[in-house]
């Protein structure tokens, strides 16, 4: 598998998202993949949702076992909403891994509109990330962001804070190492629980 993210946990979580698929061949003994099936075998032509990793690997077999369909958020209707004003969409609810999943999905889109939608969406939502990173009401402004957008926001907050403390004091004091501090915090939380 030519995949540079082989060991990345976040990529694994992205590929765990479900996508609708149509099976092109019979699968004996695989009836349990379809929750509504009563038979032991899975028949060709069944439409079910399977995780992306399974879909990708079955799609690349010769001959392909499945054909991959677009998840609903990448479909025409949602694309129109996203292109009109993507800032109104709550990504946390609709697609936590919107961009990453989109990158995988884009090649199954015959018209090739998904990739431009992804770019457009990010362009429009960038100002949300920016305002969330300086906002004082962090809970409400971070809420509609997707997973990777939240990560960007967190990084922006840390940088912003470091910059302003450097501008104020002009010195970076020696501090406790990150993991040491976090382990201590956790230990304290556990002690309080007991």
């Amino acid at each position: 598998m030519a995949n540079s993210n082989y060991l990345s946990i976040s990529d694994i979580l992205v590929t765990n998202e479900k996508v609708p698929c149509k099976f092109l061949l019979d699968l004996p003994k695989m009836g349990f993949l379809d929750p509504s099936a009563t038979e032991n075998d899975l028949k060709a032509g069944t439409n079910i949702e399977i995780p992306l990793w399974l879909a990708e690997s079955l799609y690349t077999r010769r001959p392909p076992l499945v054909s991959v369909d677009l998840p609903k958020i990448y479909k025409e209707t949602y694309r129109e909403i996203l292109n009109a004003d993507s800032c109104t969409v709550d990504m946390h609810k609709l697609g936590q891994h919107f961009y990453e999943l989109g990158c995988y999905i884009a090649k199954h889109d015959i018209k090739g509109e998904v990739s431009s939608t992804l770019l457009n969406t990010f362009r429009q939502r960038f100002k949300m990330i920016l305002s969330a990173s300086v906002s004082t009401d962090s809970i409400n402004s971070v809420q509609p962001l997707s997973m990777s957008e939240r990560k960007r926001t967190e990084a922006a907050v840390v940088t912003e804070r470091a910059l302003s403390s450097w501008l104020k004091i002009g010195d970076c004091p020696l501090t406790t190492a990150n993991m040491v501090a976090n382990h201590r915090k956790r230990k304290r939380a556990e002690m309080e629980l007991l």
Partner: protein, 195 residues
Amino acid sequence: MFGEKVIELLKEAERNSDTIDLYNDEKIRQIIQEMHILFKMNMDDANATTENKSLWTTVQVRHSALERNKRCLLAYLYNRMNKIKTLRWEFGSVLPPDVRELLSDSEYEWFSKYSTNLASYMRSLGEDIGYSGIDLTENLRPPKSLYIEVLCVTDYGKLELEDGDVIMLKKNSRHYLPTEECQTLIRQGVLKQII
């Protein structure tokens, strides 16, 4: 459904991305057992494909699941390894007992070997120009002054300075110490710099 246990395992690890969790022995055993069962079913069906060609597709589905499980387990171990590396740099060569017990036996062995390797590398640095090694875990930031004022956060005990003086580090006591000698303690969270 395939590969659900392994996802639980990774989600657990992802949730605490800043700290290391207890090595989940039990769950890993279950996953490996699941893989053994899948493999056995595949072997049986692969042998039967000569009579029944359509079984071939099923074998491929199971094979994908096996590869997926392998990938997830490797990712879990790899991410822990990176954290253990960070432990060496931040906690030093001796781990506090409560952190030590979070590692599995083979992980602790890896930690000791990594620690030894790092130490002998640091000792070898600058040998050709007459130095006896550099401690790379020190001076991560350029020192601004030779002496700094620090506050002691925990009851640490006695600390012997390079000039032979012994000072008592008690909680909430203030000291004026050479930067060089207290920066490791600051990183380990014993002291705090006062600005």
